[in-house]
């Protein structure tokens, strides 16, 4: 057979039939191998988990309104932040963009009918759910109080909670991550449409490719680390046990060898989304395409060699600290390159401010601040003072909420018409984006200040001089909550009442916009051929069109 020849897919029986109308039974969803449906399964699941973890955060913020621990017991508080951390990291942030938007879009963006291994894709969701439900069960029967980091020997010997079950849940979800990463790598390598060379790929794909490499190479290290921790707890002894001469810090090394790259698992996909949104709403070809693509790869590679910066005061050697510090400074550079390139893309564009664009601009602001405060933490002497304080808490929330969650929301709004075929109310969307941005800053900016003041993290009760910042933070969290709830309401409303979207409501380039909304089961009636560069926008033409419309 000739490889280069495009093979027409047999025309669907009904022209109207799309991936949503192709089956309405529960079975048709639970046994689907369609990447779009699996993406939606993931969407429902992660929103469910997000809601649980958000409630935990809300209770914590209420508790912290006053210095003494007066709302919940300290044991409960400890379980709450563990729940919040574990669920948010492994059951919301890591799968958020890759497993929902990545699953939905990667095959469409490269002109494929599905991912390379659709059955593994479904298996990934089942493993994810099994892990998630196991974690949830551990929470319901009594909770876990180790913190999401599971540091030994607390987790392996001293905690009296359901550590093993929780770790097993994470272990399972890790395999879901690996399967997804593997699927994406092979899909990008093998399933691209004719003419779609590597440098014609949307940056969304590049970023997800880099993410997948991390998923595949870092997650197994977490798996073995948690396995050893669980064994140690069950067996009563192990290699992290100081009584035998074992080193509890080795656990931290292995844990962060995964968990630092995991930060890039969370942030690279959000960069993927922003790299699509900025060019579309400024109607301009992205500035420095290759530099952004290579920056993604550089982040993925460098991300593997900076884990020790979580451990500057943990008892590792001074020289190890110095090496990890310089590497951590260097890893900031590729992120900086991306921010500069996005900003430059705006120059001489034709910019409009629809909801996804607002989220993208918000992302750049919050991510920049998050990244810059990362320099504080890479700077050894300052890190000694602020590590394990609210400064760190604020920093990673700027990256993970200000970064990942904003990009996720931007992405959901941008591709909502593609996913559902409906438009959401634009004004409400813009309002929600604004509320989220304000609420977020009010929640987390005060935490930088109180972190430098010395407020340690994971404190149930605290000294009175920190109170003012906790009050501000709780107020902000309330606003942030509204910012999260609004989209849930109007997006659900739009499913029935939103106006029909059409194939390409934003006037975007990219293969996913060249097929109807919602897309047909096999994405394209005919495998597309790609002949040009991505982001083929022209600000001048856009202006002319706007003028004509006006006239």
């Amino acid at each position: 057979m000739n490889e280069t020849e495009a093979v027409p897919v047999p025309a669907p029986a009904e022209v109207e039939e799309n991936y949503l109308s192709a089956g309405h039974t529960v079975r048709s969803w639970l046994l689907t191998t369609d990447h779009k449906r699996i993406g939606l399964l993931y969407l429902f699941s992660i929103i469910f988990f997000f809601a649980i973890a958000a409630v935990a955060a809300a209770i914590m913020r209420l508790e912290l309104l006053t210095p003494p621990g007066d709302l919940v017991l300290s044991a409960t508080y400890n379980k709450l932040f563990t729940l919040h951390g574990v669920i948010m990291v492994w059951f919301f942030l890591i799968p958020s963009i890759p497993n929902v938007l990545g699953n939905f879009l990667i095959p469409m963006m490269i002109g494929a009918r599905d991912v390379a291994f659709p059955k593994l894709n479904l298996l990934s969701w089942y493993l994810f759910m099994a892990g998630g439900l196991l974690a949830l069960h551990a929470i319901i029967v009594g909770g876990v109080d180790t913190g999401w980091t599971f540091y030994t020997p607390y987790s392996s010997r001293y905690s009296n909670t359901h550590t093993v079950e929780m770790a097993l849940g994470i272990f399972l979800s890790g395999f879901a991550s690996i399967l997804t990463g593997l699927n994406f790598i092979i899909t990008v390598h093998e399933m691209r449409a004719p003419g779609l060379t590597w440098f014609r790929l949307p940056l969304f794909i590049w970023s997800h490719y880099a993410t997948s490499l991390i998923l595949v190479l870092a997650t197994p290290v977490l798996a073995i680390t948690l396995l050893l921790m669980m064994l140690e707890r069950i067996w009563g002894l192990g290699i992290f046990d100081p009584r035998l001469g074992g080193d509890p810090v080795l656990f931290q090394h292995l844990f962060w060898f995964y968990s630092h790259p995991a930060v890039y698992i969370m942030i690279l996909p959000s960069m993927a989304v922003v790299s699509e949104l900025i060019p579309c709403f400024s109607r301009k070809r992205i500035f420095g395409y290759k530099f952004i693509a290579f920056a993604s790869m550089a982040i993925a590679v460098l991300g593997f060699v900076v884990w020790g910066h979580h451990m500057f005061v943990s008892g590792q050697s001074v020289y190890a600290g110095m090496i990890f510090s310089i590497l951590s400074f260097i890893v900031a550079i590729p992120s900086g390159i991306k921010v500069f390139n996005w900003t430059a893309t705006l120059h001489r564009g034709s910019i409009s401010f629809e909801t996804p664009m607002l989220y993208a601009l918000g992302f750049i602001g919050l991510f920049s601040l998050g990244g810059l405060t990362g320099l504080f933490l890479a700077a050894l002497a300052v890190d000694v003072h602020v590590t394990d304080t609210y400064f760190v808490v604020a920093h990673f929330h700027y990256i993970m909420v200000g970064g990942t969650v904003l990009a996720f929301m931007g992405g959901i709004h941008f591709w909502w018409p593609k996913i559902t075929g409906r438009m959401y109310p634009e004004k409400l969307g813009q309002l929600a984006a604004l509320v989220t941005f304000i609420g977020f800053n009010l929640t987390f900016f005060p935490q930088f200040v109180m972190g430098y003041l010395g407020m340690p993290r994971r404190y149930h009760a605290y000294a009175p001089e920190f109170q003012i910042y906790h009050v501000l933070s709780t107020a902000g969290a309330t606003i942030l909550g509204v910012g999260y709830l609004l989209p849930v309401i109007y997006l659900l409303w739009s499913l029935r009442h939103g106006k029909k979207a059409g194939a390409n409501p934003w006037g975007a380039t990219g293969l996913e916009w060249q097929t109807p909304s919602p897309p047909p089961v096999h994405n394209f009636a005919e495998v597309p051929r790609v002949t040009g560069e991505p982001y083929d926008y022209s600000p001048q033409e856009e202006e002319k069109k706007a003028e004509d419309d006006h006239a």
Partner: protein, 314 residues
């Protein structure tokens, strides 16, 4: 309503860390301005419908990219050097520092001064002298955090770690456990009380116990039977401990190790693992027979022996 922005500066280190912090804050402010002032200008000027020139610029891409790669890289190298320099001081206690021992356990800090004075969740120190804490944990990992001094160190079970500072300002400051350690983690707090040297001497004198730490160590040394082999004219040949501390020790397997806190600790708990050259591996382990507190007392005793000259032995 007060909005405190900085903790007290109460150690020699604090101003240095704060300077670096200001430097980084300034850098962040400048970077934010460099990114966002042009961005806001672009967003305004190139908003859709505004009649401006939108023809693409003709500047070589690589020149721009190299500029905004290399300049930030040089800047961060500068900050790295600055931070690492302070860190090096932070990690290296001066030789004349006074030792105070700290044991962390769920959920309290047990502190003992060399003079023998004990305290819980409080640490009294004089101004003007470098203080070196020798710390260990009885159970899980804790972290000894003194915000006013800008120092923090995780306290690990099964090994000694150190942290040092030189207080400069009289006052009472926070002591926090900064590494999550279980149910009452947020209750594992206390105060460090900085006093004038004369007041500190007075405080030591008032609470003076019967024995200094080294004296307690000496008593243990006899009670546990250590002196039977390591002292006097014993039948069993064991290494003499006078003048040992801080000196290199040749081992049976040819390695040479420094007789530091770790070595003393390991030799008592795991005597089989590092055998001094020329001696038989006959010492029993004391693991399980001796508490962390007693270990520290023995350590200070052996350290005090380190100052003496070894007697001539055959």
């Amino acid at each position: 309503m007060r909005f405190p922005l900085f903790p007290d500066q109460a150690s020699t280190l604090a101003p240095k860390v704060d300077e670096l912090y200001f430097g980084l804050t300034l850098l962040s402010a400048i970077m934010m301005a460099i990114i966002f002032l042009p961005m806001l200008y672009f967003l305004y000027k190139y908003r859709r419908g505004n009649k401006v020139d939108r023809s693409p610029l003709r500047i070589p891409l690589w020149k721009i990219e190299v500029t905004w790669t290399v300049i930030p890289l040089l800047i961060v190298f500068g900050f790295y050097t600055w931070a690492a320099d302070i860190f090096f001081d932070q990690e290296r206690p001066p030789a004349e520092a006074m030792d105070i021992t700290v044991i962390g356990k769920q959920w309290m800090w047990k502190i003992q001064h060399p003079e023998g004075n004990r305290e819980i969740n409080e640490l009294h120190v004089p101004t003007g002298r470098a203080v070196r804490l020798i710390m260990t944990s009885q159970d899980v990992i804790h972290s000894f955090f003194l915000p006013a001094f800008r120092v923090k160190q995780d306290v690990l079970p099964g090994r000694y770690v150190t942290e040092w500072f030189q207080p400069t300002k009289v006052g009472t400051y926070h002591l926090f456990c900064a590494e999550y350690c279980g149910t009452s983690h947020s209750g594992m707090v206390g105060h460090v009380i900085v006093m004038e040297p004369a007041d500190y001497e007075e405080w030591l004198r008032v609470g003076k116990p019967a024995e200094t730490m080294a004296q307690s160590g000496e008593r243990l040394f006899r009670e546990l039977g250590c002196s039977g082999c390591h002292m006097g004219n014993s039948q069993i040949r064991a290494p003499r401990l006078e003048g040992l501390f801080g000196k290199p020790v040749p081992l049976a397997d040819g390695q040479i190790v420094m007789a530091d806190e770790k070595y003393i600790r390991d030799s008592i708990l795991l005597p089989q693992s590092q055998i001094a050259a020329g001696y038989a591996p006959v010492m029993p382990t004391f693991a399980g027979h001796i508490s962390e507190e007693e270990l520290l007392q023995l350590l200070l005793y052996i350290k005090s022996l380190g100052l003496k000259q070894p007697e001539e032995t055959r």
